[in-house]
């Protein structure tokens, strides 16, 4: 199904759509609408379902995320194999990934929504999400305000550049993708067997 690591497509595909703002804006609206619709139907705009995940009572969030990852992974790497999509690899920087990740987590428990699910919460009439969204704007501003000193300090800690698991593992990329999808599916099967919700 997938090519060995040596044949990784490096070419940047020219997507005419990305250079046409109006078309991209319409696309963003369509995709966002579907995303919000799915989040609400999945229950992840709901405070007790999100907080229930953090309390290990309700596994809805993890089930949705892992299913999206498995389905998305298979499709994206297949499309990439046929040079139909670009990958968007984010740089691995241990310092900011871990410190930022933990700060995010603390905020996650306090607000009970995340940046995307807060939008779903607002849409379904959970008005407390408005306070959270105001906080998200303020927090983003604080980061921007500090972005220069942060760039020179924390963001330099443990920088490995753009790094993926198929770069790290000494096996072909296709094998890594199929194994990861299999492993995560196995995890979901076990999770389904043991979780009440």
């Amino acid at each position: 199904m997938l090519d060995p690591g040596s044949a990784v497509k490096k070419t940047k595909i020219d997507k005419s759509t990305s250079s046409v703002p109006a078309k991209a804006i319409v696309g963003g609206i369509l995709a966002g609408f579907v995303f919000g619709f799915l989040l609400q139907k999945g229950g992840v705009g709901t405070y007790h379902i999100l907080i229930g995940q953090l309390l290990f009572q309700d596994w809805t969030v993890v089930k949705i995320m892992l299913t999206a990852i498995v389905v998305g992974m298979i499709g994206i790497f297949t499309l990439h194999h046929f040079a139909k999509v670009n990958l968007h690899t984010k740089p691995t920087k241990l310092g900011p990934n871990i410190i930022g990740g933990l700060l995010f987590g603390v905020g996650f428990a306090l607000i009970g929504y995340c940046p995307g699910t807060a939008a779903a919460a607002l849409g379904q009439g959970s008005w407390d999400a408005l306070f959270g969204m105001a906080g998200l704007v303020v927090g983003s501003w604080l980061y921007a305000e500090m972005s220069d000193p942060l760039k020179r300090t924390v963001e330099k800690w443990g920088n490995f550049g753009k790094l993926t698991f198929y770069d790290l593992l000494p096996v072909p990329k296709g094998v890594v993708v199929v194994s990861a999808a299999g492993l995560l599916t196995g995890f979901l099967v076990v999770l389904q067997a043991f979780s009440v919700r």
Partner: protein, 201 residues
């Protein structure tokens, strides 16, 4: 090898399931499973989001992500209030705040969720969530303060980590980015510690 890993997974899930079963006995009002569940199966919703990500990659060359929306809003407000200062900030030099794909994506998500809630008869129309009320009372000031403070920390963390539960948690992890798997694990570790302190102590 892989069967061993699967067994370890099974064991860890069984342990946490047993842990949450034990917790159920403590107080029903603080168990999220005593409140209504989702309208649709998590597998259907997850698969839908997975397919949606194929489409956004293919048609728009965009991974799904939500947190940069808030930075764009912050930058837009900044530009209106203090344009010179805002333009000098490093982050906004790299990410100019303007109407873009990510901006309309989150706004449209609010509309999509509204249609979903309305079509399923799940319009909440409430200021303080039920489970919060069971633990912390019905003060909107308290709930608002926690949600606001949580939002500040969350956005700061997302910008530092390079993404949120969507950008790292779904789009980055599905591309097998090491950064995204580290970040998403930290999201849940930090979240689980604080949520358990809030609801179980």
């Amino acid at each position: 090898m892989s069967t061993l890993i699967l067994r370890l997974f099974a064991l860890s899930i069984a342990a946490s399931a047993a842990y949450s079963q034990a917790a159920l006995a403590i107080e029903p009002a603080l168990d999220s499973r005593n409140y209504p569940g989702a309208a649709w199966s998590p597998y259907l919703v997850g698969a839908g989001i997975g397919v949606l990500s194929w489409l956004t990659f293919y048609f728009y060359d965009k991974p799904i992500g939500a947190s940069s929306f808030y930075a764009t809003v912050a930058g837009m407000i900044g530009k209106a209030v203090a344009p010179k200062h805002t333009n000098e900030l490093d982050y906004f030099k790299d990410n100019p705040p303007k109407l873009n794909w990510e901006f309309v994506f989150v706004l449209a998500a609010v509309a999509g969720a509204a249609v979903a809630a309305w079509s399923g008869g799940e319009v909440f129309n409430e200021w303080v969530p039920e489970m919060w009320r069971a633990r912390f009372g019905d003060s909107l000031a308290l709930r608002g303060a926690f949600a606001f403070g949580g939002g500040v920390l969350m956005a700061f963390g997302a910008r530092l980590a390079g993404g949120c539960t969507s950008g790292h948690g779904i789009s980055g992890t599905l591309q097998l980015n090491v950064a995204s798997w580290i970040a998403v694990i930290c999201f849940f570790v930090g979240g689980a510690i604080v949520a358990n302190l809030m609801f179980r102590i």
